[in-house]
Symmetry: C2
C-alpha cells in the first residue's frame, strides 16, 4: 500500500512539474519584441531602450528576493536563497549582476548615470516590476518562490540571446554581455533549488494550482514589460 | 560661510547621536527581570523561560533584516546589511546565531525541539517580536535601520550578562554561551554601520525625530518581551 501511495504522490509531482514547465509556452522569449531582438532587426535606439528599461527589473530583483527571505520561516531555505541577493548585489563595489547590467548599458552606448537614475524607464515597466516585488512581499513565500521558476526557461533564452547579440549587434562590445553569461550557470542552480522547494511544499491540488498561477503571473510580468518597451521604442 | 554651515551640520549630528545614545536609559538591561537575571536570583525554570521565549526573537531577526533589505534601494547598504542575516542563519547546517541560541537552550536543560517549535513562547513575546518585524516591513527603511540601534547598548549588556551567567549559573555549560560571545564583536560592527546610515540619511529635525522614535519603539519591544516573560515565569 505504501508503495502505491508513494507511486501516486510521485506521479502527482511529475504532473505538477510538467504543468510548471508547460508555462514555457507563455515565456517572454516568444514576445514579438524579443523575437525581433534575437532576429537582429532592432535598431540601436531600440536595443538601448530595452537595456535601460530592463535595468529597473535587474535593480529590483534583490528586493524581491529579500522579500521572500523575510517571509520564509525556514533557515535552510534562506541559507540557499540568499545567494541570489549576493549574485545581484555583489560583495563589493563594481561586483554583481546589477553592475554587470550597467556595463551592458555602457556597451550599448548609454552612460552609467542615465541607466542608474532610471530616466528611461517607462511607466508600464515600472508597474509590472513593482507588481512582482509586491507579489513577493504579500503572497505566501512558496508562491513567491514558484514565481521565480521562469528561471527554468532562462538558460535557453540566454544562450540564444548571447548568440544573437554576438551575431547581429556587432557594435556591442562582447565584454558587455557578461550578465547573460553569468546567468547561464546561475539560473539552473537557482531554478533547481526553487523547484525542490515548490515540489516539497505544494502537495495539495490547491497548492499546486497556486504555484502554477504564480508562475503564470511572472510570465505576465515579463510579457507586460516587453509590451511597454515595444510601445515606447517604435 | 561653508565652514559655519558645515559646523552647524556637525553640531546637529552630534546632538542627534546624543539623543540616540540617550535611549540607553530605556534599554531592557534596566528591566527588573533582567536585573534579577544578572544578580543571579533567577531559578532554573525562569532562566529556561527566558531562553525559550527569547528564541522567538532570535529566529525572527533574519526576517526583520531581510525586510530592511527588501525596502532599501541602495546596493552598497544592502551589501553590508546582508551580513546580519548570514550571522544569524549561518552558511550551513549547525552554523549561525539561531543555532547558537538552540545550543544555549540545550545548555540550560531544554531540548532543541521544545525550543525550536516555540511551544514555550508566550503571546506577549510573540506580539512584541511580530511588531518589530512588521515595523521593518512597513516603515521607511531608514527608520527600521534606526530601530536596530539598541546594538549601541548591547556590548555592555552582553559583557555583563556573560560574567553574570558564568558567576551565578554554574549549572550552565559555558560552551552554551557562544551566542553572547559572538555578539560582543558583531554588535559594535553592526551598530557602527547603522549609525553611519542613520546620520547620513536623517538630516532634518523630522527625520531625526523619527529615528529617535524608532529606537524608542525598539526599546519598547525589548522591554515588553521581558514584561511578558516576567509575568509568565514567576
Amino acid at each position: 500500500m505504501t508503495a502505491t501511495v508513494a507511486g501516486t504522490d510521485h506521479l502527482a509531482t511529475d504532473q505538477f512539474v510538467s504543468a510548471l514547465r508547460a508555462q514555457s509556452q507563455r515565456y517572454h522569449s516568444l514576445h514579438p519584441f524579443h523575437r525581433r531582438m534575437n532576429e537582429g532587426s532592432l535598431n540601436r535606439r531600440q536595443v538601448q531602450g530595452w537595456v535601460a528599461n530592463r535595468f529597473y527589473y535587474q535593480a529590483s530583483i534583490p528586493r524581491k528576493d529579500a522579500a521572500i527571505l523575510s517571509n520564509c520561516p525556514d533557515p535552510e531555505v534562506r541559507r540557499r536563497w540568499i545567494r541570489r541577493i549576493v549574485d545581484h548585489d555583489g560583495t563589493g563595489p563594481g561586483e554583481g549582476g546589477i553592475e554587470a547590467w550597467l556595463s551592458l548599458g555602457e556597451a550599448v552606448g548609454l552612460s552609467r548615470t542615465e541607466v542608474a537614475d532610471e530616466r528611461h524607464v517607462v511607466p508600464g515597466v515600472r508597474f509590472a516590476v513593482d507588481a512582482y516585488v509586491n507579489f513577493a512581499r504579500t503572497r505566501p513565500w512558496v508562491e513567491a518562490v514558484a514565481s521565480s521558476l521562469t528561471e527554468l526557461f532562462a538558460p535557453d533564452l540566454m544562450a540564444e540571446r548571447l548568440a544573437a547579440f554576438e551575431r547581429h549587434y556587432d557594435w556591442i562590445d562582447p565584454a558587455g554581455l557578461a550578465y547573460f553569461r553569468a546567468r547561464l550557470t546561475q539560473a539552473p542552480r537557482d531554478s533547481e533549488h526553487a523547484l525542490e522547494v515548490v515540489t516539497e511544499h505544494c502537495r495539495t491540488p490547491a497548492e499546486q494550482a497556486a504555484a502554477v498561477a504564480a508562475l503564470a503571473f511572472k510570465n505576465d510580468v515579463l510579457w507586460s514589460m516587453l509590451d511597454a518597451i515595444d510601445q515606447a521604442c517604435r
